[in-house]
């Protein structure tokens, strides 16, 4: 009955990894492009983890980057301390993974706490409370001198690299997919579809909402840690409301509920954002006109509006690519 099927996603991922790695080794890709690929993969983790909360469980969250911030600050602080005690640590990936996990766990804990308001609040109200929580987290970073206050946490060792980020993203997608395509995932989906009905077929909606927030926050925390150790900096403004909105745009542009959509949008929008940055600077240099970097966000926000107006269901709708999906046996 259980015919062994080729794990399509594993093959696709290995191919992707091999191509990028090879192109980089052959110097077709430069460090800058690889850096953007790394960022895209981090955004894949952020978007797919928000997708679990928002797209699958139907709980609107506007503070997702707050979780990433917790992960970044916690893991960043840990590695910075360890680095001070032992400068050779940068060669020890095991320690880094442990610190990342610690960041993830801390974020998960905050996610667990934030999950509770979701028990009583829905839709807009929940959105606003998660926004409030995100802002509180940011305010706290801003006011703790030990982590640099408004200057941010500087001098974080550079642990993150393509291989590590790739593995993290790969694991995230597999784990998310396996959750979504299980009885637990269906329980979460039922909450999105009709919470009262879910309750009245015996689903402990409380437990699943908190679970979605906790798991989502855990992965956001990992992503935050990876980001901090990639750009060697954790700064309060990186984790504010606007950044949370950028992640939200990704899942809506990709199609709420579709992991495939989140992945495509994370890559597409990260590259677009960089492209705009370069393009606008080039235009300003070429024309000598006072064209500021703000135009990037003007275009970005217009893009968001147009996506909502003309393709409300996003790129993929709720569809999932067959590469990611597990074929169900009867």
């Amino acid at each position: 009955m259980t015919k062994v099927k080729l794990p399509k996603f594993l093959i696709a991922s290995v191919v992707f990894y091999a191509i990028i790695e090879a192109l980089f080794r052959l110097e077709v890709l430069n460090g800058y492009i690889l850096h953007i690929i790394n960022q895209s993969l981090i955004f894949v983790i952020l978007a797919a983890s928000l997708n679990l909360i928002n797209g699958i469980t139907g709980q609107f969250s506007l503070g997702h980057m707050g979780f990433a911030g917790v992960g970044a600050y916690v893991s960043g602080t840990l590695t910075t301390i360890i680095l001070k005690l032992n400068p050779t640590v940068t060669s020890n990936m095991g320690i880094f993974v442990l610190c990342l996990l610690a960041g993830g766990v801390a974020a998960a804990f905050i996610g667990f706490l934030i999950g509770f308001p979701s028990l009583r609040l829905k839709g807009d109200y929940l959105a606003i409370v998660t926004l409030g929580f995100g802002e509180i987290i940011r305010t706290v970073f801003n006011n703790i001198d030990y982590v640099g206050g408004p200057r941010g946490l500087l001098g974080i060792p550079k642990f993150s690299n393509f291989t590590l980020i790739f593995i993290a993203a790969f694991l995230l997608i597999v784990i998310m997919r396996n959750i979504i395509q299980s009885s637990h995932g269906r329980a979460m989906l039922s909450i999105r579809e009709n919470e009262l009905a879910a309750d009245l077929v015996g689903i402990n909606t409380t437990q699943y909402k908190v679970m979605a927030f906790t798991i989502g926050a855990f992965f956001a925390g990992i992503a935050g840690g990876l980001l901090a150790h990639l750009i060697q900096l954790a700064h309060p403004t990186q984790f504010g409301f606007i950044k949370s909105v950028e992640v939200l745009i990704m899942i809506y542009a990709g199609g709420v509920g579709s992991m495939t959509g989140s992945i495509i949008a994370a890559f597409g929008l990260t590259f677009l954002s960089e492209g705009l940055r370069i393009g606008i600077r080039a235009l300003a240099d070429a024309t000598n006109l006072p064209i500021g970097g703000e135009w990037r966000m003007v275009i970005y926000s217009l893009l968001l509006i147009f996506i909502m107006l003309f393709r409300t269901e996003g790129l993929m709708g709720t569809k999932e690519s067959r590469i990611i999906k597990i074929e169900e046996a009867d």
Partner: protein, 303 residues
């Protein structure tokens, strides 16, 4: 803390509360009628401030010295600017999504908000930096018992009060007000009464936006510094005030705004971090304890 200090704090709290109230009313009215948290509402406040700034120099050159008339005209312009941009946002960005899932309009509203902020700071004639706001009316200190207040405090409180009384009359007594209530309760039924609901909704945005615009002028006069992102914080605070009062409920928004104004003034006097965080703390506590806000009615879901 002596009693003088307290009296001063109360006056300051009422002043801040008045500005929050004008903004909060727009949030609450728009939410009441289209169930949308209009994230861009704080930006109409910013637009009102810039419109007041620009028009002041024009009117001042035309009517030099006539402070009363200038102030009145500037008020009208700031209200018109806020109101018209609000109507435009509704027409272009929200109306097409009226019958789509609610969250898509919420996200669009975030988009509109970001657009207005970045567009204004990207425009060369406005730019991202601060501008100092002129004294539209000469500032006078009034001694009131043991506290000293400026005439601006009085203006803020009185202008807000007059506008709010006008609004109450409009909603309670006029046919248009009844139509607004009808549209907020059942859009199909309102259409079947022959009401052009899009006109009524547009009008609601106009009123809400114009109140935010007026608040922009008052805030510009009071804290004489304007910049394209100035709407974010007050917008958020006023929104919280509306939620605190029970979003969709007009008296609730006013009550919530004054509570917020006072709480924030007292908290800031005590500790600056507390002042920064009190609004969110209030929000979270209220929503956890009384999710429908102070005056919000519990609407039983039809099951």
């Amino acid at each position: 803390m002596g009693s003088i200090f307290n009296a001063q704090q109360i006056v300051n709290g009422l002043q801040v509360g008045s500005i929050y109230a004008l903004i909060a009313l727009g949030y609450t009215m728009v939410y009441g009628i289209v169930r949308l948290i209009n994230f861009a509402h704080g930006d109409f406040f910013m637009i009102g401030a810039y419109a007041a700034y620009g028009s002041f120099f024009i009117f001042n050159s035309m009517l030099a010295g006539k402070h009363g008339s200038i102030a009145f005209l500037v008020l009208i312009v700031s209200m018109l600017a806020g109101g018209l941009i609000a109507m435009l946002a509704n027409q272009l960005a929200y109306k097409p999504l009226r019958y789509k899932p609610k969250l898509s309009s919420l996200i669009t509203a975030i988009g509109v908000s970001m657009f207005l902020e970045y567009f204004f700071s990207a425009l060369p004639m406005i730019g991202p930096s601060y501008r100092s706001f002129p004294d539209i009316i000469p500032k006078v200190q009034i001694s009131l018992g043991s506290a000293t207040i400026s005439n601006y405090v009085v203006i803020d409180i009185v202008v807000a009060a007059v506008l709010m009384i006008g609004l109450t009359f409009l909603v309670r007594k006029t046919a248009l007000g009844k139509a607004m209530r009808a549209v907020s309760q059942d859009k199909d039924a309102a259409r079947l009464m022959g009401i052009d609901i899009e006109k009524v909704i547009g009008f609601t945005f106009l009123i809400g936006g114009s109140f935010a615009g007026a608040a922009g002028l008052l805030a510009g006069m009071t804290y004489p510094r304007i910049f394209p992102y100035m709407g974010i914080q007050p917008g958020l605070k006023a929104f919280i005030a509306a939620v605190l009062g029970g979003i969709g409920n007009i008296p609730g928004a006013v009550l919530g705004a004054y509570i917020m104004g006072l709480a924030e003034t007292f908290a800031s006097a005590y500790n600056s971090l507390l002042g920064e965080g009190i609004a969110f703390a209030i929000l979270i506590i209220v929503l956890l304890v009384r999710p429908r806000g102070l005056l919000g009615e519990k609407v039983a879901d039809k099951i």
